[in-house]
Symmetry: C3
Subunit: 398 residues, 3 copies
Amino acid sequence: MEETKSLIEKLRGLKYQNMYNNDFFLTWEKSDDELFSVFTVADILRKMRENNISTRIFDSGLGISVFRDNSTRTRFSFASACNLLGLEVQDLEEGKSQIAHGETVRETSNMISFMADVIGIRDDMFIGKGNKYMHEVSEAVQEGYKAEVLEQRPTLVNLQCDIDHPTQCMADLLHIIHHFGGVENLKGKKIAMTWAYSPSYGKPLSVPQGIIGLMTRMGMEVCLGHPEGYDLMPEVEEVARKNAKESGGKFTKTNSMREAFENADMVYPKSWASFAAMEKRTALYGEGKLDEIKTFEKELLAENAKHKEWQCTEEMMKLTKNGKALYLHCLPADISGVSCKEGEVAASVFDRYRELLYKEAGFKPYIIAAMMFLSKVKDPVKTFEALKSSNKPRFSGK
Amino acid sequence: MEETKSLIEKLRGLKYQNMYNNDFFLTWEKSDDELFSVFTVADILRKMRENNISTRIFDSGLGISVFRDNSTRTRFSFASACNLLGLEVQDLEEGKSQIAHGETVRETSNMISFMADVIGIRDDMFIGKGNKYMHEVSEAVQEGYKAEVLEQRPTLVNLQCDIDHPTQCMADLLHIIHHFGGVENLKGKKIAMTWAYSPSYGKPLSVPQGIIGLMTRMGMEVCLGHPEGYDLMPEVEEVARKNAKESGGKFTKTNSMREAFENADMVYPKSWASFAAMEKRTALYGEGKLDEIKTFEKELLAENAKHKEWQCTEEMMKLTKNGKALYLHCLPADISGVSCKEGEVAASVFDRYRELLYKEAGFKPYIIAAMMFLSKVKDPVKTFEALKSSNKPRFSGK
Amino acid sequence: MEETKSLIEKLRGLKYQNMYNNDFFLTWEKSDDELFSVFTVADILRKMRENNISTRIFDSGLGISVFRDNSTRTRFSFASACNLLGLEVQDLEEGKSQIAHGETVRETSNMISFMADVIGIRDDMFIGKGNKYMHEVSEAVQEGYKAEVLEQRPTLVNLQCDIDHPTQCMADLLHIIHHFGGVENLKGKKIAMTWAYSPSYGKPLSVPQGIIGLMTRMGMEVCLGHPEGYDLMPEVEEVARKNAKESGGKFTKTNSMREAFENADMVYPKSWASFAAMEKRTALYGEGKLDEIKTFEKELLAENAKHKEWQCTEEMMKLTKNGKALYLHCLPADISGVSCKEGEVAASVFDRYRELLYKEAGFKPYIIAAMMFLSKVKDPVKTFEALKSSNKPRFSGK
């Protein structure tokens, strides 16, 4: 419990006040203090749960989830985070709902929010759409709150959009921080965020974009590697460049996986579709040209297949710092010979890092809960001290 | 909190005892005192939530929902109401379940109710079916309770049937009461419940029927307007006539939208299918004549299209009391040029009333919670006073 | 409350310590003391709920359900059990999730379990699969727990596999124990577990197998009756034989329904597919031979139809002890003239036993809750005494 105490002390020193009653869309919209507040609150919530102290701050209330793409881990992470704080999850299934019947976003957002404290949205499939949709929802409930339609303003958590995947990337970073024994030890370290071959098509850009947008703030050398044509959104690369400069880190690019892995402390090899491709696909959907989409996707798969050498093999790993770089992935990974014939990573590499990968994923529920906590709780330090002293058990059968 | 105190005093004066361990099917099966008890309890629950006082009377227990038609707002209203009182929602999805496999209503009702405190049902598509089904469920659990199969008798809330939509219409009425500063101010006011054109087919009759069945009890002039052939169920019109007489109000009918709007204090323009049409359609379904249904629905759409002038335009609104009647709708509305080419209401009219419409909808979760509260709580006044004095916060991070 | 007290005393005398942090797969993997602990805890939980004492031992936490086959009653029983103890249900819908996308069981099991206290799985359709899958999940989370990926080890409850249906059969047995006034009165009684005709195809073997595997431990004569070719898994019959010997009971087999019913104290007539048939079908699925499966299922239905005389008629019931045997079924039953033209049981027989059948089903939520309780709570007696003395109401509106 000493640990919890010192974490609360740490929190006391940070500026997180702007997060109150606010949303979490993109990490680069937040100050360093705000990011570290999320990490600190996540660690406190975890410590308290490990010590069987209830962190249930809501006696009742709803956490609403909107998933516009399949999801297991994010769905369960959100549900776990809500449950940890005392919110009941209500999933807005747009199929079931009347949204299909031409209801406007503004209206639906208010209709589902009368007793909603938080809203989590995943909408990552179409460039220029997901983040925009989240802002529409946020503005709608803000209006509703101002107009006293809503008694509370539900705060939004971006569970993955077309631009960023903040809950994933911050879970990745918290994992790295713990792994290397503190954020101060990250300065000067090299992380390779590289493309990797996958037989499955059109994975979102949000993870690589989120990684270069976040890791460049920690004074690290962030090396983005991908075959020609697999570029990310230029504006996000610009963010990475700016962050690197400010943090005293580096942001480099290469079209060689070997070069990216060379002497890296961490590697994050993962497949994605190119920005240009996703944009074209989005346009085709917009025009409802389904046949053309099919043809186009075939082309893209064929293009992917030209780059099968972009695989995280044992040989590639040998290139990294002492051959022992920390392998990172958001999961699920396309594992060669396991989940597919040829994929992002060799089975032997993946196996060696499995437990670490699971631990990496384990930070996500706490990151989400921390984002909610900081957006809802007026005086986090006071609330944590109250929880600590009341010392109510999460499970009374221990 | 003074307000809460006086509301509890008000409740003390009302006769609601017959609602205990009872269901809520149709508003006209309830006494005036019982309706006003629902309104009063709804207001108390809302005030307490606004003052961050927990109204969680259930430490555990299930609220079961059965939706036989798509729904966003009602689904979330029910979930919010259950959550506010401490019940966890379990949705009976008849697709997933074995009901499809020829299980009887009696059996299913008991099988899902071993730990169920309330059941909410929406079944509004077929004339003569929905309300009947709810009664079958109610009788089944009553039997089960008597036979000690069930430890508690789950009470039913009608979330919309073929005859009435009590949670919607009572939310509408509570909105009106607050808008006009008290029920006493409603006497003599005119409300126009009119048909309106919609390109979508076969909307239920439950809202217009519920409105004429309920508003006629408040001493208002309720004017029902629709094109020839769009009649409601005759027995419900009979109820409205009777209510009007008893309450000193009026129930009038017209085939002219202009006449209905003339000098109205409130207007409720909404599309519905005719009773006769719904009956025929129900019969065709019964006989499984799917092709004939298609043809029939085409005919009905064509018939609808003959009445496009039944639209709530600015010009129509000018006819109302000082051109400023309160526009009402259960949402979602078919807004001309927004959700459809031509529909129930002009965009400019809808926009002007948007916030009020959202507030109208906001009463629904509290109406549902109040119905549950009065059906489960033995001594509501005592329970409210206990909640007030224990003063447990709903959210302890405020 | 005296009753609760003596039940707690009874529990004190039983050896259940090995159930702590353990799973529940098959009844014959558990000691008699462990089975009776489940019954005793189930009775205590029920008594406490009847006396409006909260048994909510979890302030937060998830209970995860995985249903690989349709289910109403088991789904609601699991949800009720979780809710009774304070866990929120999260359903892993494999359709929605990314499991379809080739994710391994090991990975998914950990990804959904970061805050999961229990996992309930139903997987009964394919011989040699369901129970195996449950063990894979159990090993996966055990590994994750050891590796500190998971803070707690979620314990598994078998909600029906290809071999056993422990929650059903133990609910059946607890019902019998209460019906006959104590387990000691079961010695020497005869129970007929027989096949019965059903027009629907391929029902799982888990119920008849679970029944012969469990009831043979109570010193009863368990008579398994079915037409030639409808054999159960040989290893389970072996278990039954062994149990009967040890308990001083009997395990007999016959191909005559009349012989099985002859002088029986209890009858459990229920349809199932033969072990050999299920095995072949599983193989065909494995080979993706969908057309052959269709043909094969037709053959099996034709085979079924040869045994329509296997029906629980009034005449058959006359053969039982004083014509008054206790009729048992897991529900839903195929009732002749009700849910099908010809089926497992005559309507008049079913009607006479309906209330008892519903009560039988009513034990299931408590059996599941008891299994969870014993797998999670370190000192059940202490915890029950604490719950009793704190005396927190489940519902504070009574």
